[in-house]
Amino acid sequence: MRPSAIRLLNILVPVKRAVDYTVKIRVNPEQTGIDLNVKHSMNPFDEIAVEEAVRIRERLKDAVKSIKVVTIGPPKSTETLRTALAMGADSAIHVEIPESAPAPEPLGVAKTLKAIIDHQKEGVDVVILGKQAIDDDAGQTGQMLAGLLDWSQATFASKVEVDAMQKVANVTREIDGGLETLRCRLPLIITTDLRLNGKRNSLVLNLSDHPQEPRYASLPNIMKAKKKPVEKVTTADLGVDLTPRLETIKVTEPPKRVGGSKVANVDELLAKLKEAGITAKRV
């Protein structure tokens, strides 16, 4: 009898629906937030997280048992889950909150994710999150989740090598001034930095001739994704409260910066620098 393949890892990828990174946002007249009637898409760092989960499976084959994506958001967030499913995730969980509900804070999200992980019968071995959402720019959820679960964490990952047998991962992290490598025992929380899987299409404009490795969901995969299971749960089911604890007083436009004049040549440019008190460094 052939031994059955070892199926070991369950990967969870939390994703967030956010205003598309190309949208020029506008603060609403009431100064309570920004105009949200604009194009939304998956937070780019989360796209990298989904991509990385799929690539881990491509490398480890049957050692990855499941890739589950989860989102916490209004009904429209289902689109984001479908995108992740079309990229290669197996199933999804949607923690649905009302359209009118205030945006949950990272701590609330982390508690919700912990509750979901606690509910997974087969457990979760690796959670891959984006390092930050490009709307609130908080960059806290992964670390908070690691703290709540008391798991190891590897933030700002630019390279992940999972050893499914040993249940460890070597993660290279981007730190101020360079790189750092950690060896982390599973279960592990990873947050993705931009260079994690060479998926570079998202945040850069004008890169048409750049070698890219985007995983665009193909039409058959999009069709297949429609049949993949999306489980809906409520915060009540999970016993969590997403009421924000910080109070947003107002949201305003940043001070406008007005461009100055153009100069005709280097001499004029250097004269402007001199005017501003900037001269060559004295050696």
Binding site: T141, I249, K281
Partner: protein, 347 residues
Amino acid sequence: MLRARTSALTSAFIRRYATTPSPHALVFLEHSQGELDSGSLSALTAATQLGGKVTGLIVGGPDQVPGVLEKAKRIVGLDTLLHSVSPQYSTPLPETITPLLEKLLSESSPFTHIVSAHSSSAKSILPRVAARLDVPAVSDITSIEHDASSNCTTFTRPIYAGNAISTVRASSSIPIKFFTVRSTAFSAAALGNADAGLKTIDAVVVSDCPSEHIDRSLNQSDRPDLGVANRVVSGGRALKNAETFQATLYPLADALGAAVGASRAAVDAGYADNSLQVGQTGKVVAPELYMALGISGAIQHLAGMKDSKLIVAVNKDPDAPIFQVADVGLVADLFEVVPEMVEKLKQ
């Protein structure tokens, strides 16, 4: 020692008899190679704006802490300096530092605010600790105001890549207020003749830590550090390749005494190391002079540099968005302009 004890007694007194505790900030002071990180000194300035006591915390290995302590106790505005030494803290990990902070912040703790720079290390540690204490955290603040009578702290912070500014309030219902500080928004606290009281904190040994530090590779450079430089010369995709990036930008940076930065496009194309990236996902800088060479000015890049005092842009494309924010713009080929600038600056 005596000072430390007095302050502990005073704060206990205030806790018991006043309706609201006066603010007492704990600042996580980071250091590397025997020097305090300037980001931490900016965080300390933000902490002093709360209007109460300020305590610093230094953790590190036995060979690191004594030297830094000598400098740190001279920081103007610091009342007390806590330090904790353990071989485990030589390369601090969130998994090893969190238990120490948790213990430090347990019930009898006098601290009302936990403050750090918005550095990669502190960003990894602080939210983990906050979650364990069941309190939210505020990231990357650019201003702060504390109302002692209501024990509310109001912060402003950029959201949407700096395209909007959010004002948030942490009320008295949040007993310990965690926040990280955008260094470019606060001047660095000075080292003077101050003499903060020292107090040792026992390390909390984490046996069987689930993470292990393997190695670290830092970029060696004698140019100023990008995050704190007064002048930054930054290059984009137009620099063609790593060789021309260096050959073109470095002489200009050296002539100006500037740090070198890069756009994300330049980093992704491999012209420059990713630690040089300026933008929403890289470093946020606010130098006296920011020179953008061959950078179009995508919003993600602008988020990292638009608070610079003087922005100079050189680009072949007269319609590049960078010109909308540049104080001085020159439409020209940077490969002609930059060598000419270097030449004329040297005169």
